[in-house]
Amino acid sequence: MKQSRKKALLGYMFICPWLLGFLFFWLGPLGFSSYISFTRWTVYGQATFTGFSNYIKIFTDDPLFLQALKVTSLYVSGSIPLILMVSLLVAVLLNEKIKGLSFFRTVYYLPTVMTGISVALLWMWIFNPEFGIMNSLLEICFNLKGPKWLASTTWALPALIIMSLWGIGSPMLIFLAGLQGIPDRLYEAAEIDGATRWSKFRNITVPMISPIILFNLIMGIISAFQVFTQAYIMTAGGPHYATLFYVLYLYKNGFQWFKMGYAAALALILFVVILVAALIILRSSRGWVYYESKLGGV
């Protein structure tokens, strides 16, 4: 008895750095945040309790909140399917037995290493309507007059979506690991039956990696909801709020307009939105994700 209590104590001692961190940097602030969201709190002034007024204002009288939600959802629904498709395609190609694999893998992964402001500055320059490489290439290759990209209300968001495709590295590698785990015998069996490449992909590859598609989908959505640097640097939310991403709006409220209470309410709503989105996807996944172990193997 005494021995096992001692052991338990030891266990808590080992995990205490994380446990304390979780309490101080997550749970505590989360609780504090709920309190702040019910107040009016300009950083340098006093907090006044205002009940639900922040939430009421957000949901009934804040067109920018709706705009931020719309922009972020458009971005998520535009970039995530594209990222998943392209990264799966590249992973399938990289899973072929060809020479120079490590070179290709490096090339496709490299941009992922360099996220952040340097990349934002680079793409600003690429999308420059007059001297940027994007419009020059469009003109040289297709004889098209390119749009004004980041300065256009229609094209600013698509520009950011195109840019997001440069960062397919992580989902691609995760897909690749999954593809390498598919047993060869499945393909061999299909080949004997005379299956085409496409039908093998459709009927073996996709079901076998569906849990990984789900994983990449959820991780991608979580990170896409948190886009900030690109929007802050490249467009500052403009033109005409066309790229007012949710976290940018949150930042503006908290740190430019010093509406801490309001920003805290926005953050909690973001939390709920992400949670609900993840849950809906998890629920729906029962219909399309195939778990080998649960069904007793092939």
Partner: protein, 288 residues
């Protein structure tokens, strides 16, 4: 016999066409992926007037290497680099000291609530970092931590990141228990097993922790933007933003030179630590 041979050669030639197709797709994709980087580097080497040439010049002649020193000395980039390295190194230290400790606790020790706590740890991986932005800012301001590195560094001394703990715990689970038992019979304490056996064994995974911590901190923009104020405290990411607003920063050549320099540490780290990198990423996906 003859029929079989034609079938075989048909299959071979089909295989070959497919391979060529794969090469063309991968090669074309690689070019598209490398163009932005090449464009960045080429702009960084141009004269200001060459930037506005049409059609665009891919290889600048003459190459103006002086753009690099000019960009880096027009604002105190040396200080920004030093700050970024100090912050990254401190975070790495924090993560390395605490993440394996916690992971060992979860992998090897039995205590009530372990399963639940580990589940909480896993779900906290999905918590968006912005949810606690406002309360943490208020707390740090109350503590007087604004315009210091503390808000960026100290959280890493509490287990690094949930992701690291998860990664290390998965790794420890694969190490046979017999190893611990043997050490225990020899009179080794629990902490001794951890520090003398498990920790040295987990070097490759610790490399993953080092690399990821460095990347995150090097590229982080929102954190420094909120917590750091003075120029002498700025990180490279903030410094680039600051540089952009100066007289020099409006020159595309200098801006690209500065940006290119800022990605070099990450690139180097990636090239030298590639195998650790891949391991970290694939571990997350396949065992999530």
């Amino acid at each position: 016999m003859k029929r079989e041979l034609t079938w075989w050669s048909k299959k071979r030639s089909k295989e070959l066409t497919w391979k060529i197709f794969v090469y063309i797709l991968l090669g074309g994709g690689s070019i598209i992926f490398l163009i932005p980087l090449f464009w960045m580097f080429s702009t960084a080497l141009k004269e200001e007037t060459q930037v506005f040439a049409y059609p665009p010049q891919w290889i600048p002649s003459p190459a103006v290497w002086e753009n690099f020193p000019r960009a880096l000395t027009s604002v105190p980039f040396i200080i920004f680099y030093k700050n970024s390295f100090v912050i990254s190194a401190s975070c790495i230290l924090g993560a390395i000291l605490t993440a394996p400790l916690v992971a060992y606790g979860f992998a090897r020790l039995r205590f009530p609530g372990r399963g639940l706590l580990f589940l909480i740890l896993l779900s906290s991986m999905m918590l968006p970092y912005h949810v606690t932005l406002i309360p943490l800012f208020i707390i740090y301001r109350y503590l007087g931590w604004i315009d210091t590195f503390k808000p960026l560094i100290i959280p890493f001394f509490f287990g690094g990141a949930p992701f690291f703990i998860f990664l290390l715990r998965q790794y420890y689970m694969t190490i046979p228990l017999e190893l611990d038992d043997a050490a225990r019979i020899d009179g080794c304490s629990e902490f001794g097993i951890y520090s003398r056996i498990m920790l040295p064994l987990s070097k490759p995974v610790l490399m993953v922790v080092v690399i990821f911590t460095f990347m995150w901190n090097w590229n982080d923009f929102l954190g420094p933007l909120i917590y750091l104020r003075g120029i002498e405290k700025m990180t490279v990411a903030l410094g680039l933003n600051f540089f952009q607003s100066t007289r020099y920063g409006t020159k595309m050549t200098l801006l690209m030179a500065a940006s290119f320099t800022a990605i070099i540490p990450c690139m180097l780290l990636f090239f030298f630590g590639q195998k650790y990198f891949l391991r970290g990423i694939t571990l997350t996906g396949s065992k999530g």
